[in-house]
């Protein structure tokens, strides 16, 4: 008794320490989660705004087309780049040196000329008139306005030079600089210019890829699960299938990419970087997840349901299609949504089948070359421009928003249709 009491204090201390250790581990995990999210959001939230500059453009008939011209071909051939430059020269008449002029033009995004062209194409009557128009600033100016450029650095290390700085200050004093909602980010495809790049191309690529993936993996996965759970005889063939499915679930995703490269692209000759091939590869990859979840859902339907249906004369197939499947469907859908979320975030296999190409156009179908969201993130993360850092983070935020809503949908489905038998 004395010996026990002597050791008690030490043992309780150990107990407390162990408990603290466990709590520490959890808190560390939570810390990682919050750190990850904070770092992404802090880097990315500014990308939803973009700096615009107000220009007083004189739509010079000499540079575009004579007043009254409406032929779109002539209108689109106008010198809109020159128009932007002329407007900038007009704003800063003191700049005469060639090199300085070049720096001056660098303040405005190259997208400004496209914007002017669109404006003229839409309404040719503006030719010969003067109007104020907001055009996107260059990404370096954007970074400066958002405070991402360290002005304490020596001039040679900065992307924004001193005279550019003074021009920007001049513009700001004239109220010609404004941060606005970055619509381009949601409506444009990829671009080499950060201020003109957007995620729409990648998002629609992801959409088509997931569509293909879902339309293959869901029916096939459910069918395989039904067969294995309800019809398969207990023999070696069935065992082989089961072992195979379990192993496929653990094969690294990049190996599926190599499979896609060797089979779909080199053997069947499908084109590279199209959502079709991506969807096929991801379907093979998510199939084990869906099969395993669907089997669990089928298992949870009590045998009494089957026996009752068989008892009133339904065939085994009718029992499954009329009674068991509807009851198991919510569980299957939950598994499928989780599988789709996994497919949406997957990058490595898509790199293998060439979905890393730089594609500006927004894909219109499953056979158009396109990127997908995670690959777009990977591509932007590799780009040297500072402005792409915030765009990468913003694209991650969009991707995570999709993933979280998919997972919430799965949780909601499970909660809503979960049945205790």
């Amino acid at each position: 008794m004395v010996r026990v009491e002597k050791g008690l204090a030490r043992r309780y201390r150990q107990e407390r320490n162990f408990k603290r250790l466990g709590l520490g581990a959890i808190l560390l995990g939570l810390l990682f989660v919050s750190f990850l999210f904070i770092s992404i959001i802090a880097n990315g939230y500014t990308a939803f705004q973009q700096t615009f500059v107000k220009l007083d453009v004189y739509y010079d008939p000499e540079m575009i087309a004579p007043v009254g011209e409406t032929d779109p071909e002539i209108l689109s051939a106008g010198n809109y780049g020159g128009l932007v430059k002329a407007t900038m020269r007009e704003l800063f008449p003191s700049v005469t040196n060639r090199r300085d002029k070049k720096k001056l033009y660098g303040l405005i995004s190259t997208g400004a000329s496209y914007q002017l062209r669109e404006r003229v194409m839409q309404d040719p009557s503006v030719i010969g008139q003067r109007e104020s128009i907001w055009v996107p600033a260059d990404d370096d100016v954007d970074m400066l306005i958002k405070g991402h450029i360290d002005l304490n650095l020596p001039e040679s290390d900065r992307r924004i030079k001193d005279d550019q700085l003074s021009w920007i200050q001049g513009l700001q004093e004239d109220d010609r600089v404004e941060k606005r909602f970055n619509k381009t980010f949601f409506t444009a495809g990829d671009s080499r210019e950060p201020e003109l790049s957007g995620i729409k191309g990648a998002a629609s690529g992801s959409f088509f890829t997931l569509l293909i993936c879902l339309s293959i993996s869901f029916p096939v996965g459910v069918a395989a699960a039904v067969y294995l759970e309800e019809f398969a005889p207990k023999n070696r063939w069935t065992d082989l299938i089961e072992v195979n499915i379990n192993n496929l679930a653990a094969v690294p995703s990049i190996v599926f990419g190599l499979l896609g490269l060797a089979v779909f692209i080199n053997f069947f000759g499908l084109p590279r970087s199209v959502p079709m091939v991506g969807g096929l590869v991801l379907a093979l990859m998510t199939l084990p997840t869906i099969i395993i979840a669907s089997r669990a859902a089928l298992k949870s339907v009590p045998p009494s349901i089957r026996e009752a249906a068989l008892g009133v004369g339904a065939s085994p197939m009718q029992t499954i299609t009329h009674h068991v499947l509807p009851l198991a469907l919510p569980g299957m859908l939950t598994g499928t949504i989780i599988g789709m979320a996994q497919a949406l975030g997957e990058t490595a296999p898509l790199l293998m089948i060439g979905m890393v190409a730089f594609i500006v156009d927004i894909p219109g179908g499953a056979m158009d070359p396109s990127a997908v969201l995670p690959v777009q993130i990977y591509l932007w993360a590799d780009s040297p421009e500072r402005a792409f850092v915030e765009r990468t983070s913003a694209a991650i935020m969009v991707l995570l928003a999709f993933l979280i809503s998919m997972n919430l949908l799965a949780v909601w489905l499970r909660k809503k249709f979960e049945r205790r038998w």
Partner: protein
């Protein structure tokens, strides 16, 4: 017309066939369903299946052979000297012909021969398209018609339809086997071709990795040394760091969740930790490259250590964070599988909770935990994006976690992304690496699943 239009037309025909078949069966017995062998809808389904499936099979076969047949015909029509070109050059010419026929950009100047070949190609494709349409539609109508004719009161329509469904179910379940075979074959064939050029022993035991091969014979800067030991070592190092992070945190948090945490805390903390499992790996990669690696570099600089900005440490730590929920949910399973009687026995002898955990539960659950850790290791070995974005490209043979190392998956990606000849040793090396990766992860999984199953049996 497009192939998708044809498929829509076929679907329309199938629904028409369903309607007609159902109607005919009802007409046969003048509405008295009980006189039929099967329910009317089964007769409809039976007719629709006959209408659709042969036509769709024909379509699939046609599409898969159309390309090679048309190309063969075009090649035959080309001038002799073009036909005599080596296969790669001939392929280029064919590509030009195809692009010209579809109105895309052509790489060479368009001459008369090319133009006529392109016209020929376009004509052949048009003919093939039309023929496919005609064949598929007539087959659908014909088969549907005969199925419709064959409907009688005693036809076992339900059994036939169910047989068809059963066949679909069975073939779906074998897809997993075909996938495995596909993986093994595609990786194995290219690996064998690789090992014909580079001896296996050099690949497995070589200490230097430098896969730059010459595309032209006279090119400089090509070394082409394929010793994979540095890659294995790098993979091992990063995996080890990941495990050092993930195993203690995952295990301890699983224990805390299972034995100490209150209901409220658990219902809050568990989903948040599981968020880590749902985050795409490319996000972790970005996080590692943008935040963690500079953090370690600056930390090292402030302590006077030279930490590479692509250090194994950063990639490993972030990978460990990714694996935490994996380890914790697997350990949670095995800890919960330990029978309550063992806990109660330990408490009854006067042991504290932590003593019970350390001296009873963990030893009892150890095989399961080991299995879980092995699964986590296989996950870490196969992980790609984190290391592609945060680890280095140069193959250093080092055990120093502060230096940059490269891994098997990084090399697969760098070898295969970008343009290169498909036959060069450089590209084939990626498949050999993938073979190694596949075999190792497969073996780890088999062992882990075996251990876990053995352990489960012990307590059942």
């Amino acid at each position: 017309m497009h192939t998708s239009t044809l498929i829509i037309v076929l679907l329309g025909l199938m629904s028409l066939a369903y309607y007609l078949g159902r109607k005919r069966s009802l007409n046969l017995v003048s509405g008295r369903v009980r006189d039929l062998h099967s329910l009317p809808s089964y007769y409809g389904l039976h007719t629709a299946l006959w209408c659709g499936i042969p036509a769709i099979l024909l379509l699939v076969l046609w599409i898969s052979f159309e390309g090679s047949v048309v190309t063969g015909l075009v090649v035959d029509s080309l001038p002799q000297e073009t036909q005599a070109l080596p296969p790669e050059r001939l392929n280029l010419v064919l590509n030009d012909i195809r692009n010209l026929a579809t109105g895309d950009i052509v790489s060479t100047a368009v001459d008369e021969n090319l133009q006529s070949a392109a016209d020929h190609y376009a004509r052949l494709q048009g003919i093939s398209q039309l023929a496919m349409f005609a064949a598929a539609l007539s087959l659908a109508i014909l088969a549907g018609y005969f199925a419709h004719r064959s409907i009688t009161r005693h036809q076992r329509a339900r059994n036939r339809v169910e047989k068809a469904i059963n066949f679909f179910l069975l073939s779906s379940s074998t897809l997993a086997i075909f996938t495995t075979i596909g993986i093994v074959l595609s990786v194995l064939f290219e690996s064998i071709r690789f090992f014909q050029q580079i001896p296996v022993t050099e690949f497995i035991f070589g200490l230097e990795w430098s896969p730059q091969t010459a595309i032209r014979a006279d090119q400089v800067g090509s070394s082409g040394v394929f010793g994979a030991i540095p890659l294995f070592a790098g993979t091992f190092l990063i995996t080890l760091i990941a495990m050092v992070v993930a195993v203690p945190i995952g295990l301890l948090s699983a224990i805390y969740m299972a034995d100490y945490a209150g209901r409220h805390f658990r219902s809050l903390a568990k989903p948040v930790l599981e968020v880590l499992a749902g985050i795409p790996t490319v996000v972790y990669g970005f996080f590692a490259a943008l935040t963690v690696a500079p953090f370690f570099r600056d930390l090292g600089a402030s302590m006077g250590l030279g930490v590479s900005s692509e250090s194994a440490l950063a990639a490993g730590v972030v990978m460990g964070i990714m694996i935490i929920p994996f380890v914790s949910s697997l350990s949670d399973d095995v800890i919960n599988a330990v029978p309550q009687a063992m806990r109660d026995g330990s408490y009854g002898l006067g042991a504290t909770r932590s003593e019970t955990i350390r001296q009873v539960i963990i030893p009892a659950a150890l095989p399961g935990i080991v299995g879980g850790v092995l699964l986590a290791v296989s996950r870490a070995i196969g992980e790609t994006m984190i290391v592609v974005m945060a680890a280095g490209l140069s193959a250093n043979l080092t055990a120093n976690p502060l230096e940059a190392v490269t891994t098997v998956t990084v090399q697969i990606v760098t070898l295969l992304v970008g343009d290169q000849e498909f036959d060069s040793a450089k590209t084939l090396a990626a498949f050999a690496l993938a073979l190694v990766l596949f075999v190792i992860t497969l073996a780890l999984n088999m062992i882990a699943l075996h251990i876990v199953r053995k352990y489960r049996e012990q307590y059942e």
